[in-house]
Amino acid sequence: MKSLEDLKKMREEALKKVEMREGGKDYRVVVGMATCGIAAGARPVLNRLVEETADKDYNCTVTQTGCIGMCVYEPIVEVYGKDGEHTTYVKVTPDMASEILSEHIGKGNIIEKYTVEEARKGAGE
């Protein structure tokens, strides 16, 4: 290490290790990971979310939660905004997860067709 520039490089690399302890992100992405979620395929969804968030540096943290109570719609991914408003995406696949990240977190656009409201309409509820 011979300059501030070297230190900066080292810090950027190291930040990945600790940034999840800092908080301060705009969005919180929560995956339902109870038995129902895991059985429906929530684990690959979670892994995709974690990897892409780190890769593309999305402004969100990814955490998991237990059963949300709508087991039939699992895997469920909920996106919480800074003001507490939240969107529930259902029957999420890894590819849908990537889309949620790029559209919702990246651009701020809610993908209506994946939300629980749409799914319910489709099911005639």
């Binding site: 290490m1 230190l7 190291a14 290790k17 600790v18 999840m20 038995t35 892994n47 237990g66």
Partner: protein
């Protein structure tokens, strides 16, 4: 890809409650659940809330678990980390005093809400054995900035303007201390970090070294650059094995990255650092004794002047700063003098770390801005005395300090105010005493410590404190007289005037400060042969009220010396005073409150 960090406390306190085993269980179980590539377990420094330890934190969920036992790990892994369900019964929580609602957000919990962490900023956040985590938290940036853009005199100017004062206790302005050494001629100069923390109950320096050792290395390197030194010593007691171990790792890592050694940051500045272990003598925290010990001599103080800034270790100019002082240095250089001096009171800037102990609910480590009141620390952060006992006093400043009472609780804490109130800042030990503490006994405890730790070089301290202890012991045994009390007070003042070093001069403080605020307790011992707090054994008598006695024999069975006799179910029990050792066993054994203590 790592999605979750599990932080386990690896400070001395939690390590003593098997946090090492907890760490291993996590690693083992994460493997069993196939989560080892998703969840990383990190050993970190003290979280501060030692009362609730061992503590485990899960990020990014920001969930804190308290009182975690090795066997709880399985539940945390299978429920929380695998299925996303928080294990609520282990969760650290607080109760809102008005609404009685459970508070789970760690930043809103009373213990943390009032704190402002500068010296402890990385403790409980980073892995102290990994330099890259320190760098991620802007570590070594201040050093880089100093070495590439600032002159030594600019550094001193910033530290002076920040208002930083020595956190070891006396509160000498740090910038001024550095200036004195910088002004000395010659190019062989030294810097020392005083990590010989010895006040009973104080552990802030240990926790900083255990939780954030690189902050001390960075602070010392900046100090060395400012004063023109190329060699530094960290003087630390051997009783702090975890801190020593982490320091060794940190120094090694800093050397590997070129942050210690030759030509740091390509600036041409060389600095090397060495650890010196002390054998654990209280007096070695005194700077001239500490220097003697580093030189391999017996740890005894020398008269000042010459001050260490002129003639310190090996007779060369030396600056000595306490651990906590140094932990502030990099932050000041990074954020500016104005930022630092905006925190605190007019004469005491920044924050102070206190080790809260004694009769208090939330034992632990707290860092508060100067100017916070004792009441806020003891009641709002510390949660007050447990078991609804009444608060009696708080001892600050260690053996050289004093006891403050209810009347002084609203005093905003700073160096001057504490001295004016009859105590001192000291290194930051804060021991809370409740109605069950006898103040004469407290004074005796500290005096015993001082007698043990007196180095013996000067007569007033060596002989004087021994005599003081004898007098105090007499009073606690009911053999005190008013003449003795007067004699004791006179001796106190003589020691203050004639002892060689700061420790000797302040040695009578435990007596003087308790006499000032609690003279009535001394008088009760002397005149009434009574200990109001029921602590001094020689002044206690246990007896059984024969009307209240249910003749159950519980007391007699509990008594270790068979001093209690009676016939179960028939005759009330009686204590034979000649055999009684006053252990109080019968009193706690009796379920009917028939045992009385006078």
């Amino acid at each position: 890809m790592i999605r979750t960090n599990v932080l386990t406390c690896a400070g001395t306190g939690c390590s003593a409650s098997s946090s090492g085993e907890i760490f291993e269980n996590f690693n083992k179980l994460l493997k069993e659940y196939g989560l080892e590539d998703e969840v990383k377990v990190v050993k970190t420094g003290c979280f501060g809330l030692c009362q609730k330890g061992p503590i485990v934190a899960v990020y990014p969920d920001k969930i804190f678990y308290s009182h975690v036992k090795p066997e709880d790990v399985e539940r945390i892994v299978s429920e929380h980390l695998y299925k996303g369900r928080v294990v609520t019964d282990l969760e650290l929580s607080d109760e809102d005093l008005e609404t009685h609602e459970k508070i789970l957000d760690i930043d809103k919990i009373k213990f943390y809400e009032k704190q402002q962490r500068i010296a402890l900023r990385n403790c409980g956040k980073i892995n102290p054995e990994d330099i890259s985590e320190y760098v991620a938290m802007n570590g070594y940036e201040a050093l880089g900035k100093v070495l590439s853009t600032m002159k030594p005199e600019d550094v001193i100017e910033v530290v002076k303007n920040s208002g930083l004062r020595g956190r070891g206790g006396a509160g000498f302005p740090t910038g001024l201390k550095w200036q004195f050494e910088a002004n000395q001629p010659g190019d062989e100069k030294y810097v020392i970090c005083n990590a010989d923390e010895g006040d009973p109950g104080a552990f802030m320096d240990r926790s900083i070294l255990e939780g954030d050792p690189h902050a001390i290395i960075e602070g010392m390197t900046i100090m060395a650059y400012a004063v023109g030194a190329h060699k530094g010593y960290i003087y630390i007691r051997a009783e702090y094995p975890i801190a020593v171990h982490r320091l060794e790792i940190a120094i090694q890592q800093a050397k590997e990255y070129g942050l210690l050694g030759k030509d740091i940051f390509g600036s041409g500045f060389d600095f090397d650092l060495e650890i010196r272990l002390g054998a654990g003598a209280f007096v070695c925290g005194e700077e001239t004794a500490l220097i003697a010990s580093i030189e391999g001599k017996r740890g005894m103080p020398n008269p000042k002047p010459p001050f260490p800034a002129v003639s310190g270790v090996w007779g060369k100019p030396t600056s000595i700063n306490n651990v906590e002082t140094l932990a502030n240095v990099a932050q000041i250089l990074l954020n500016g003098a104005e930022w630092y001096s905006s925190i605190g009171t007019e004469k005491s800037k920044g924050t102070k770390v206190f080790a809260l102990g004694g009769k208090i609910k939330n034992t632990g480590l707290v860092e508060i801005p100067m100017g916070t009141t004792l009441r806020e620390i003891i009641y709002e952060i510390g949660g007050g005395c447990p078991n609804n006992k009444a608060f009696k006093a708080v001892q600050t400043g260690g053996p050289s300090g004093g006891c403050l009472t209810e009347n002084e609780l609203d005093t905003p804490i700073d160096y001057e105010n504490l001295v004016q109130a009859g105590s001192m800042m000291g290194s930051g030990g804060m021991i809370v005493l409740d109605e069950d503490n006898c103040m004469v006994d407290v004074a005796r405890f500290y005096m015993e410590f001082i007698v043990d730790e007196s180095c013996g070089k000067c007569t007033p301290c060596r002989v004087g404190t021994k005599r003081l202890l004898e007098m105090l012991t007499k009073i606690t045994k009911g053999q005190g007289t008013m003449e003795l009390l007067e004699e004791m007070e006179n001796l106190c003042h003589e020691i203050q005037d004639t002892a060689l070093c700061g420790l000797g001069q302040t040695a009578p403080n435990p007596i003087l400060s308790t006499l000032k605020s609690f003279k009535d307790e001394y008088l009760a011992h002397i005149n009434d042969k009574r200990c109001p707090a029921h602590v001094c054994k020689d002044l206690l008598t246990f007896s059984i009220n024969k009307d209240a006695c249910k003749k159950c024999s519980a007391c007699a069975r509990q008594c270790p010396v068979e001093a209690i006799s009676g016939v179960p179910g028939k005759e009330p029990f009686v204590i034979d005073q000649s055999k009684c050792i006053k252990c109080g066993g019968c009193m706690s054994a009796c379920r009917f409150g028939a045992v009385e203590r006078v």
